[in-house]
C-alpha cells in the first residue's frame, strides 16, 4: 500500500525519484551523444555525395553570403559545389542540398528537410519525374506556369516554386563565387 503522505516523505520521495531519473538520463545522453552526432554527419555526407559528381575530394563545411557549402575538387581544380539552400515551401521551410558544377549548371539535388503536405508537396522527395529532371538540369529555373522549364508536381505549384527558387538561389551563389574567383 502507498506510504504515508507526510511532508518529509513527499519531499524525500520526489527528490529521490528526480535524482535517479536525472542519473539515468545523464548516462543515456552520454552514451548516445556520439551515435547521434555520427548519424547526422552520415546523413549530411550521404546527401552531399548524392548531389556531387563522383571521385572529387570534398572539403569541410564553409560559409559565405549566408549559405553553407562544400567544394569538390579534382587535382586542385574546383569541380563542383554542394550548397545548402532554404526557401519557404507550402508548410514551412524547405531545405535542399543542391549540387552545382563550376560552370553554373545543376548536377543534382536532394531534400534535407521539409514540412510539405503528405501526398502533395511531400512528393518532392518521392516523385520520380520531378526528382530526375534536376539531374543535369539545363534551361530556365522557373516552373512552366511562370514561363520557365521546370515541370511542377501536380497540384503542388507552391512547393515546386519553392524548390525551384532554392535551386536557383544556389546556382546564383555558385556563379557569384566563381565570378569573384576570376576577377
Amino acid at each position: 500500500m502507498a506510504a504515508q503522505s507526510t511532508l518529509r516523505n513527499m519531499v524525500l520521495c520526489l527528490t529521490c525519484v528526480c535524482l535517479v531519473c536525472s542519473a539515468i538520463l545523464g548516462v543515456v545522453y552520454a552514451v548516445t551523444l556520439d551515435p547521434i552526432a555520427e548519424a547526422s554527419a552520415k546523413a549530411l555526407k550521404e546527401s552531399i555525395g548524392q548531389v556531387l559528381p563522383e571521385g572529387g575530394e570534398i572539403s569541410d563545411a564553409m560559409q559565405a553570403e549566408g549559405f553553407d557549402y562544400y567544394v569538390s575538387t579534382k587535382e586542385g581544380e574546383t569541380v563542383a559545389y554542394a550548397v545548402k539552400s532554404t526557401s519557404v515551401g507550402f508548410g514551412g521551410p524547405l531545405t535542399l542540398m543542391v549540387g552545382v558544377l563550376a560552370d553554373g549548371t545543376v548536377f543534382n539535388t536532394s531534400v534535407l528537410s521539409h514540412s510539405e503536405t503528405p501526398g502533395l508537396g511531400a512528393k518532392c522527395t518521392s516523385d520520380e519525374a520531378f526528382m530526375s529532371q534536376w539531374r543535369g538540369f539545363r534551361g530556365q529555373l522557373k516552373v512552366k506556369k511562370d514561363g520557365g522549364d521546370v515541370d511542377a508536381i501536380t497540384a503542388s505549384t507552391i512547393t515546386s516554386r519553392a524548390y525551384t527558387l532554392a535551386v536557383s538561389n544556389a546556382v546564383e551563389f555558385v556563379k557569384n563565387m566563381e565570378g569573384a574567383k576570376n576577377e
Binding site: 531519473c21 538520463l25 545522453y29 532554404t86 519557404v88 515551401g89 507550402f90 514551412g92 521551410p93 531545405t95 503536405t117 507552391i158
Partner: protein
C-alpha cells in the same frame, strides 16, 4: 502584418485540432455540451499562452545556455503541471466565479497534449512568417500560442454546437456517440482544408 499572418495561420490554416491533431482527447471528451466546451476552451487558452511564455523563457535562459536541450520534454511537462496547479490556486483566491467556470477543467489540462505540443513546437520548429525561415522570438511565440489556442476554442465550440444538435437525432446504433462525432469532425476538417494555402 507579420503578427496578422501568424494569427490567421494559427487559427485557420494550421488549426491545432483539425489539422495538427493536438488535444483531441478533450475535443472528443467534453464537447457534448456547448457550455462545458466553452469552459474548457477558456481554460486551455489561458494555460497554453501562459505555459508557452514560461517554457520559452526556461528554454532560452536555462536549458540552451547549459546545453541541456535534451531535457526539454521532462522540464516542460513538469513546468506545465506545476503551472496548472498554481493557476488553480490563484484563480480560487482571486476570482471564485472564474474558478467555478474553469476550475474543473484545469486538472485535465496537464495531460492535454495541445499544451505540451505548442510549447515544444515553438522552441524547436522554424517558421516562415514574413518570408524567411527563422525561430520565433518571444513576442511572436506569445502571439502564436494565443492564436493557436483561439483556434482550439473556435473548432471546439463549433464542434460542440454541432454535437448538441446531433444528440437529438436518430442515428444508427453502431454510430451513436463517438463514431458519428468523428465523422462530423472529418467533415469539419475538410471545410478547414479550404483555408490551406491562404498564408
Amino acid at each position: 502584418m507579420e503578427f496578422l499572418l501568424i494569427i490567421i495561420s494559427a487559427i485557420f490554416v494550421n488549426n491545432i485540432l483539425l489539422s495538427q491533431f493536438l488535444g483531441i482527447c478533450p475535443f472528443l471528451g467534453v464537447s457534448n455540451k456547448l457550455s462545458t466546451a466553452t469552459g474548457m476552451s477558456g481554460a486551455v487558452c489561458f494555460v497554453i499562452t501562459l505555459s508557452t511564455v514560461v517554457t520559452y523563457l526556461i528554454n532560452q535562459y536555462l536549458l540552451v545556455p547549459c546545453g541541456l536541450e535534451f531535457l526539454q520534454t521532462i522540464a516542460f511537462i513538469l513546468v506545465i503541471a506545476a503551472l496548472v496547479q498554481v493557476v488553480e490556486i490563484v484563480l480560487k483566491k482571486i476570482s471564485p466565479s472564474l474558478y467555478q467556470a474553469l476550475g474543473i477543467f484545469l486538472p485535465l489540462i496537464t495531460t492535454n497534449c495541445a499544451v505540451l505540443g505548442v510549447a515544444i513546437t515553438v522552441v524547436t520548429k522554424q517558421f516562415t512568417f514574413g518570408g524567411t525561415a527563422h525561430m520565433l522570438n518571444l513576442g511572436e511565440a506569445t502571439v502564436y500560442a494565443l492564436a493557436t489556442s483561439l483556434g482550439y476554442g473556435l473548432s471546439m465550440i463549433l464542434f460542440a454546437g454541432i454535437r448538441e444538435h446531433l444528440a437529438g437525432n436518430d442515428v444508427p446504433k453502431a454510430f451513436k456517440g463517438l463514431p458519428i462525432a468523428l465523422i462530423t469532425a472529418s467533415i469539419m476538417a475538410m471545410a478547414f482544408l479550404g483555408f490551406s494555402g491562404m498564408v
